[in-house]
């Protein structure tokens, strides 16, 4: 299971296999969700997003699934490649009085084995 703190959850997959990265979000009123990829020494990069009126959205080699009943997001990466090795964060969009802020999960490190 996932834990916060110094040690990121790590997922190791063989090159060519599919990867599934999971995320639990906190606010049932959140209506927009994003998956980010962060490579070492770089800022987070957008991968894919989904809105709360959807349960699935597909991109190139990536699919995001949203289960609002259990407040769960997953990111599926097909045919994982060495370049997919990175830390992946989910973010939920939470409204406040000013506008919209994001809350980020702790992240999962994906390690692609040759």
């Amino acid at each position: 299971g996932e834990s916060v703190g110094l040690h990121l959850p790590t997922l190791s997959v063989q090159e060519g296999d599919n990867s599934i990265i999971n995320c639990a979000y906190s606010n049932s009123a959140s209506d927009y969700f994003i998956w980010y990829k962060q490579e070492s020494g770089k800022g987070p990069q957008f991968i894919i997003d989904i809105r709360s009126n959807m349960d699935k959205r597909q991109g190139q080699r990536v699919t995001v699934l949203l289960n609002k009943t259990v407040k769960h997001l997953s990111l599926q990466i097909a045919a994982t490649q060495p370049g997919d090795s990175a830390v992946y964060f989910c973010a939920e969009n939470m409204r406040d009085n000013y506008g919209q802020n994001f809350v980020f999960g702790p992240g999962t490190r994906l390690s692609v084995l040759p």
Binding site: L6, G43, P44, D49, R51, Q100, F104, G107
Partner: protein, 119 residues
């Protein structure tokens, strides 16, 4: 477009020193954000701004101040640095919702980060 840039990239401070981190964006975004990222943790929001001249506190604002005098710039200040402020700092920006754009995606765009060490 350069996107979101941050200066400096690295900095080492002694306890009690002050410094300012600069974030600049050339995408005409209304919203700007400052986050810190610590080992094994996600991004935590320090302060944010929804427009020129407006700022608000995030999750971890203590020990930091911000200013948004120009739309394209968002400054993060440390008045008296402490070792607990050793971290990697990321700036981000995004469009304001409802500004007439018809786009599904409403992501934040992140800068490359500033690695700050306080001794």
């Amino acid at each position: 477009n350069a996107g979101v840039t941050q200066t400096p990239k690295f900095r080492v401070l002694k306890t009690g020193q002050s410094m300012t981190l600069l974030c600049a964006q050339d995408m005409n975004h209304e919203y700007m954000y400052w986050y810190r990222q610590d080992p094994g943790m996600g991004l935590r929001l320090i302060h944010y701004s929804v427009g020129e001249g407006t700022t608000a506190k995030g999750e971890v604002p203590d020990g930091y101040n911000v200013s948004r005098l120009k739309k394209q710039n968002f400054l993060l200040g440390l008045e008296s640095a402490a070792p607990s402020q050793t971290s990697v700092y990321f700036c981000a920006s995004r469009y304001r919702m409802g500004d007439g754009r018809s786009s599904f995606t409403d992501t934040q765009y992140f800068g490359p980060g500033t690695r700050l060490t306080v001794l």
